[in-house]
Every structure is written in structure tokens, then in C-alpha cells.
Amino acid sequence: MTLSGATVLILEDEPIIGLALEDMLSRHGASVLFASQMEEAIDLIERERFDSAILDVNVHGALSYPVAALLADRNVPFIFATGYGDRSHPPEFAAVPTIAKPYSAEDIRIALEGRP
């Protein structure tokens, strides 16, 4: 997929980081659906159409894997963003591309588009 013209769901509990991420994606021509809590993200998954997702792993102290499972069920491609450099994902998400904070716009583009 390419970012241009795509709709991306962001799950990020830190508003300042979320805003910057939103801007990065906008600059690449993507539209953004923003959620700062897991319930909000699940709600958006059920109601909205989008092409891919970026999930912060730790959202208000909980892990976002239930949201990831929901996306996997619907075959929506997604990546993880995390501040925990040394944490490994559960086996079912071991192959999911993961970008470490702080990340650049290019990191996100490569992870989402799947090519450098």
C-alpha cells in the first residue's frame, strides 16, 4: 500500500505525539482517524473504513494487543510503535513491524508501505 490517499488509524495516548504523527501522515497525503484510548480505537474499527493502523503498545498502562487481534481478524495491516525497546510481542504478533520511539516520518512510511 502507499500512504498517499490512504486512511490510517492511530492509537496513541500521548496527545502531543499523536498530533505530530497525524501531521507526518498528512504530509504524506494520508487521512487520519485518531484514538487516544483502546475503547475509542475499537469503536472506530467497528464503524469506520481505513487502510492501515499504527498502534502504541502501551496505552494508559495497558497493552494494545486486543486491538491488534481485532485488526488481524479483519485483515487490516498494522504496525506497532513502542517506547519499550526491549519488549517482545506475543508469538501471534512477533512478525508485526515495530517502530521504536522516537521515530521519524520515514520510519513510519517504510513500516507501513513495506518498502524503503
Binding site: 500521548e14 505525539i17 498530533l19 484510548q37 517506547g83
Partner: protein
């Protein structure tokens, strides 16, 4: 009970005694004797009475025997005290002629009359047979030397036993008081022979001595430690465990608790193919392990916060530097945002990053942003506690509101004011409804901005609440009114 006879016939008693007695005058003339004496000396009464003892039983006056006997009689006469001869050879003339070799033990007792010795009573025992037996034994086995050798050896063994006992006692005391746990298990059923104080503490004070491990500590058998001990015993190869998790009853019969142990199982005894037992020695490193785990957790958490903070700084930089803003102005905006972020972090650091007060967070952010103009901002309400992430979001939102007020609003002139009013409901299901009203007055006329900048968007995005917050920005002509409504989880102190 027998009646006591009116008088006792001592002469008859003397005559009937099985012990040989002879009574001498101080000049050693034989006065009388009993039947036992006549029998042991093989003489007739009439042959002896009235004769000197040395005349009746002649011996060489220069011989040791003669001297020994004569000196004993002299001592009794001189001192008036009893005298004893432990062993004396004094040969006796046989009725058939010739002398028979005889050994005697004798007691000479004086019979006193008005302080002077009137008679000497000799009690004599024939010990010839005893003497012969001893001599026979001596000839057969060099008994004198052997005996003394045995005695010396017995003494040496006795001393060695004593020092071994002391050594064992010292070692036992050392084992008992050792800071590490020590135990010795023996035999195929792993029976406890020794367990020191630290070991007994480890197993909840249970009495393990003399018991097989399956009986003493059933829970460790299930965890494979009995098999491990048996493997060490049969293979004779030591096992070293580091930070091994063991579930143990901390109190006898109580619930299992996890302990972490460094230990060694050392086979003991060298005589057989298998070891006779296993020496167990080690340390409880549970506290150390927990401290390490806690430290690792803190480092991970610190790493996460640093990464998150770098991401925030990166986002602030991206929002501050863009094509629409002069580089100098952009740097000023960025510096101010970093400053506000830093102030919020300082506040949280004072509270160990556990929480920050609502009013304190607003005051700190206002002070960091508005400087001297902070006096024109009044803040009131309850000082409820905020989670760290919420405090940072609120501090940055307040910073943007303040910056906006300084550039375009109530703080851009000399007389405008800002009124910040907070309210909080009482907690329901650990959630509190918080309302913050930011009302500007006395500034220049305000109109809704044509485009929404980062500040506005950040404020609108709210407080990083775990539940959605509602933010309204009302650009009234008299000044901006911003209302933030949020449901926040309660934070305990």
C-alpha cells in the same frame, strides 16, 4: 527378730573366723592363734605358743622378707598404729621337710592397754595363688610392658577422643551459626543427618533431622529436587544451582512461597561407587533477586519515559519548526514549549512521578510560560491529584493557552486578566469528573482564528484522559473561554 544374746563369746568367734589370725606379744612371742591360722601355716597349736614368731617360722635375718616383716612389727610397737604389708614372700617349712614358696598380705593391728601396745594381732592372707597367676600371665605375654603400653595407648586414645569431640563440637557450632544454609542428607532415601539454623529457617522451622526428604519436605520432591539429590549421590558429580526458584512452606503447613537460592549439592563419602550422602550448602538470594528485578523494572520504566519524552520533544520540534514560521520565532516557540515540559517534569519528579496536584500543575505551567504576567492569572479550585501523563498533557495545554493569551489575548496588553476555575465531583467507581474553565477578560477583541494551530489542536485533544474529554473553545469578543470537561481516574497518594 533374733534376741540379742546376753554376752558374746569373743574367744569362740575368734576361733571360728575363716580369716587366719595370730596374736603376738610386743616381743613377738606367739600368744595364741585361731584354727584358720593353723590350717594355712600347716602347724599344730602346741608347736607355736610361747615361741618367737621368727623362731617358729625361721628365715634369713638379712633377707628382704625378714627385714620387711620385722620392720612392720617394730613400727606398730613404736607408733601404736596399724601397719600393712601389701605383698611379702615368706616361705613356710613343710611338715614333710623343705620349704614351700608362699606369698602373703598382712595387717598388723596393735591392741592397746593404758596407751601401750599390749599385743599385736596379725591378720594374714595367703596370696600365693594370685601371685602365681600374675607371674604366669607376665611370662606368657610380657604383661608389664604390654600393660603399660596398653595403658598409654588407652590414655592417648582417650585424649584423642577428647580433642575429636571438641573439634566436632566446634565444627557443629560453625555449621549451626553459618550465615548460609547447610544440611547433610544420607542414603538412598535422602535422610537428613544435619541441618543448621539457616536451613531450618529456610524450611519454616520444620523438624527435618532423621527424616527422609519425602517426609520432611514433600513439596521439594514434587519440584524435582529429590531426583537431583539422588543423581548427585549416584553419579558422584556435584550440582551447582544459581538463583534457582524453589517453592517452600515459609511456615510449617502454610502456603508455598517462592524463594531464590544459590546452592551446591556435593557428594560425600569415597568408599563406594555411589556417594554415601550429599552435602548441601547455599544462600537464600531472594531479597537480592527481588532487588534486581525491581531495578530492572525501574530501568525499563526509565527507558520508556526517556523514549516517550524524546518523542514528545520531537513532536514539539516538528510543530514549532515549519514553513509558515520565521526560524527565529520558531526557535522561541520551541524553547518555551521545552521549558513548559521541563517545569511539568520537575513537578512530577518532586512526587516520584506518582502524581501531581491539579492546581499545582496549572500554577507551574503558568509561571513557566507567563513569567511576571502570571500575577494576572488567578487560579482556584480543589487540588485533586492527577496521573503523571495527565499532568504533562494539562501542563502543555495550559502552556499553549497561556502563550495564546500572551500573543493575542488577555495577557497581550497591560490590564487583561485570566480566571481559571476548577471543579471536581466526588469519586464514583474511582472516577472523578473534572471541569476546568479558562476565562480571559480585558484583552483586545477576539475573533475565531482562520486556521487551527498546534496549540489549539493540542488543547482540543484534551487531557490524555483514559476516558474521552470534552474541550470547547469559545472565542468571545470579550475574550477566549476554554472549557475542559474530563473523567479522570482517582489517584491515591
Amino acid at each position: 527378730m533374733l534376741a540379742r544374746p546376753a554376752s558374746i563369746d569373743f574367744e569362740a568367734l575368734f576361733g571360728a573366723s575363716p580369716n587366719p589370725y595370730v596374736l603376738l606379744a610386743p616381743d613377738l612371742t606367739i600368744v595364741t592363734m585361731n584354727e584358720a591360722y593353723l590350717a594355712t601355716t600347716m602347724r599344730e597349736r602346741d608347736d607355736l605358743i610361747g615361741r618367737s614368731i621368727f623362731e617358729a617360722f625361721p628365715s634369713d635375718p638379712d633377707s628382704d622378707s625378714h627385714q620387711l616383716l620385722q620392720n612392720s612389727f617394730k613400727r606398730v610397737v613404736r607408733t601404736g598404729e596399724r601397719d600393712e604389708i601389701a605383698l611379702i614372700r615368706y616361705d613356710i617349712e613343710q611338715p614333710s621337710g623343705g620349704f614351700e614358696e608362699r606369698y602373703w598380705s598382712a595387717t598388723h593391728t596393735p591392741l592397746l592397754d593404758v596407751g601401750k601396745v599390749a599385743y599385736i594381732l596379725q591378720h594374714t592372707v595367703d596370696v600365693t595363688e594370685l601371685h602365681r597367676l600374675r607371674t604366669f600371665a607376665a611370662e606368657a605375654g610380657h604383661h608389664a610392658r604390654e600393660e603399660s603400653g596398653v595403658f598409654q595407648r588407652a590414655n592417648a586414645v582417650q585424649e584423642a577422643n577428647q580433642s575429636l569431640a571438641e573439634e566436632t563440637q566446634r565444627l557443629r557450632a560453625m555449621f549451626e551459626q553459618a550465615p548460609g544454609f547447610v544440611a547433610v542428607l544420607a542414603g538412598p532415601d535422602q535422610r537428613f543427618q544435619l541441618a543448621n539454623a539457616a536451613y531450618r529457617r529456610l524450611v519454616g522451622g520444620r523438624d527435618v533431622i532423621g527424616k527422609a526428604i519425602s517426609e520432611a519436605l514433600p513439596e521439594v520432591v514434587e519440584q524435582g529436587f529429590a531426583d537431583l539429590l539422588d543423581q548427585v549421590r549416584t553419579s558422584r558429580e556435584a550440582y551447582i544451582g544459581r538463583g534457582v526458584s524453589v517453592m517452600l512452606e515459609a511456615e510449617s503447613g502454610g502456603p508455598l512461597e517462592e524463594r531464590f537460592l544459590d546452592f551446591i549439592y556435593q557428594p560425600i563419602g569415597t568408599e563406594n561407587e555411589e556417594a554415601s550422602g550429599v552435602f548441601v550448602q547455599g544462600h537464600d538470594v531472594t531479597e537480592q533477586r527481588r532487588a534486581e528485578d525491581h531495578q530492572r523494572l525501574l530501568i525499563n520504566e526509565l527507558n520508556h519515559r526517556v523514549k516517550n519524552t524524546l518523542s514528545i520533544v520531537q513532536a514539539l520540534a516538528m510543530q514549532s519548526f515549519n514553513d509558515r514560521v520565521e526560524p527565529a520565532a520558531a526557535r522561541e516557540t520551541f524553547d518555551a514549549r521545552l521549558n513548559a515540559l521541563s517545569a511539568a517534569h520537575n513537578l512530577l519528579t518532586m512526587e516520584n512521578w506518582e502524581s501531581a496536584g491539579l492546581l499545582e500543575t496549572i500554577e507551574t505551567s503558568v509561571a513557566a510560560t507567563a513569567g511576571a504576567n502570571a500575577a494576572r492569572v488567578s487560579i482556584c479550585g480543589p487540588d485533586i491529584l492527577l496521573a503523571p501523563q495527565t499532568a504533562v498533557s494539562l501542563a502543555m495545554a495550559i502552556h499553549e493557552l497561556c502563550t495564546n493569551a500572551i500573543k493575542y489575548g488577555a495577557l497581550s496588553n497591560e490590564s487583561g486578566t485570566v480566571d481559571v476555575r476548577c471543579a471536581a465531583s466526588s469519586a464514583v467507581d474511582n472516577l472523578v469528573d473534572v471541569a476546568i474553565e479558562w476565562t480571559e477578560e480585558g484583552g483586545p477583541a477576539v475573533s475565531t482564528p482562520s486556521r487551527r494551530g498546534f496549540g489549539t489542536r493540542l488543547i482540543e485533544r484534551g487531557l490524555s484522559a483514559e476516558l474521552r474529554s470534552q474541550v470547547t473553545l469559545d472565542f468571545r469578543e470579550t475574550g477566549l473561554k476554554c472549557t475542559i470537561l474530563a473523567k479522570l481516574p482517582t489517584v491515591s497518594e
